[in-house]
Amino acid sequence: MKKQLIPIAAALACLAAPALAQKSASQSIDEYRAMLQDGNPAELFEMKGEELWKQARGPKKGTLAKSCDLGKGAGVVKGAFVELPRYFEDTKRVQDLESRLLTCMSTVQGFDEKSIANTPFGKGEKANVVAMATWIASQSKGMQFNLPQSHAQERLFYAVGKQLFFQRGGPHDFACATCHGEQGKRIRLQDLPDLRGNPGDGVGFAAWPAYRVSNGQMWSMQHRLNDCYRQQRFPEPNYGSDATIALGVYMGVNAKGAASAVPAITR
């Protein structure tokens, strides 16, 4: 019976009160996090993602490793992650890694973009997108974020992302900025990165996709943002929406110079 606590840990988080001395607790938690680094289950998703990227798949039996351009040329993976989202000439859109993968799966492999977007996280081809995003991101590990801002659309998306970051709404009047608009703040014991600037290497935008220990799931950036919006009491963003892409541009440009730690392992 006791173990029922585990799966509902996240839900109970606001009710739980660890009886621990604060200072030693944070040191011990740092030790715990360090112990988890070796053997991050994200590696399982990387492996799967690499295979999917290199396989001929879908109705058109296309191979993304041959034909998908993530911004650095067809099939080029290294360094792509730290320059996304960016503007793509072929779609005339600013796209993040996940929405770009959807485009490629549609054009190269013949998958139905919409039905993948509507699949729940962790299931079917949506899980495959996240696995590929994990592998692609891992190939830029340690590289510094350097999103392009040369195209007018990229600059517009930065400006829109900034508006969205500060947009207040819902029954609690929350904005992204309510929690992530000041340095050195926390919710309960959870430290909050200040996303108005570069919060540091491997923090915030530079930490996702990440393996989440609490539920054993691999979370992409959009999954992370969706859950932020859930806690903000906002409605759910569509998968590959311009709103989440614009927020990605805002956070990614702000994080210029931060080294990517992806795939990370988090609470």
């Binding site: 009160a17 947009q167 709103a243 989440t244």
Partner: protein, 217 residues
């Protein structure tokens, strides 16, 4: 799905800004943001799209001021504060204080009104997410100021004493609608927006002001 919207943006923005490395102009950004907000979200559970498309004036002006990086001008701030002040529902019978033990539970509970919460569930006050309150709870947030010893520091030894009336009323108003005192406060308008009930407000009041509450020990 998003293609049509981005396409219109290009038609507008690129035509204006083609080849020039300037930041896009304010009207363009506003138009693009509105279009993107409209196209990017869907209803889920009790979290409807209207929660963000129908922001009230306070949220709209404060969000714009935050994004611009400059506070509201004083006249606007005063006007919004007055409008929010007018929404405060004062306790009908003058009964401001409930049970601090129940108040502690409301303060601990951070749930309610997300798309994954049941619409008929009891909502929490979210207080510990941002504030230190009782000394016993070490898992508290720091977005808001510490409320430990809230009543004691303010000299409230008997909240029913007329001498305490001003602070008691201020505290009620602040919980009900903090934007009445600071137009762009980060604190939710928990009473005004119906997040918590009048009885729950009374219980939080007791947690903060009752001399027997652990907050004032």
């Amino acid at each position: 799905m998003q293609k049509p919207i981005q396409f219109t943006l290009i038609a507008g923005a690129v035509a204006l800004l083609a080849g020039c490395a300037m930041a896009p102009d304010v009207a363009e950004v506003k138009q693009a943001t509105d279009a993107i907000v409209k196209s990017s979200f869907h209803d889920k559970g009790q979290a409807k799209v209207t929660r963000i498309t129908q922001a009230d004036e306070t949220n709209r002006l404060c969000g714009e001021a935050d994004a611009a990086g400059k506070p509201l001008d004083e006249a606007t701030a005063k006007r919004l504060e007055a409008a929010n002040m007018a929404t405060i529902k004062w306790p009908a019978n003058g009964n401001y204080l409930g049970d601090w033990k129940k108040g502690e539970k409301v303060a601990q509970n951070g749930r309610g009104m997300t798309w994954s919460d049941k619409p008929d569930a009891v909502n929490g006050g979210n207080c510990y997410n941002c504030h230190q309150i009782s000394k016993q709870e070490i898992s508290y947030g720091t977005i808001g100021p510490s409320l430990y010893n809230y009543g004691k520091i303010r000299g409230v030894s008997d909240p029913y004493d007329p001498k305490s009336a001003a602070i008691v009323q201020y505290t009620w108003g602040k919980i009900w609608n903090p934007k009445a005192y600071n137009a762009c406060s980060n604190m939710p308008r928990a009473g005004h927006n119906g997040v918590i009930t009048e009885d729950q407000v009374r219980d939080i009041m007791a947690l903060l002001l009752d001399p027997n509450s652990p907050v004032n020990k």
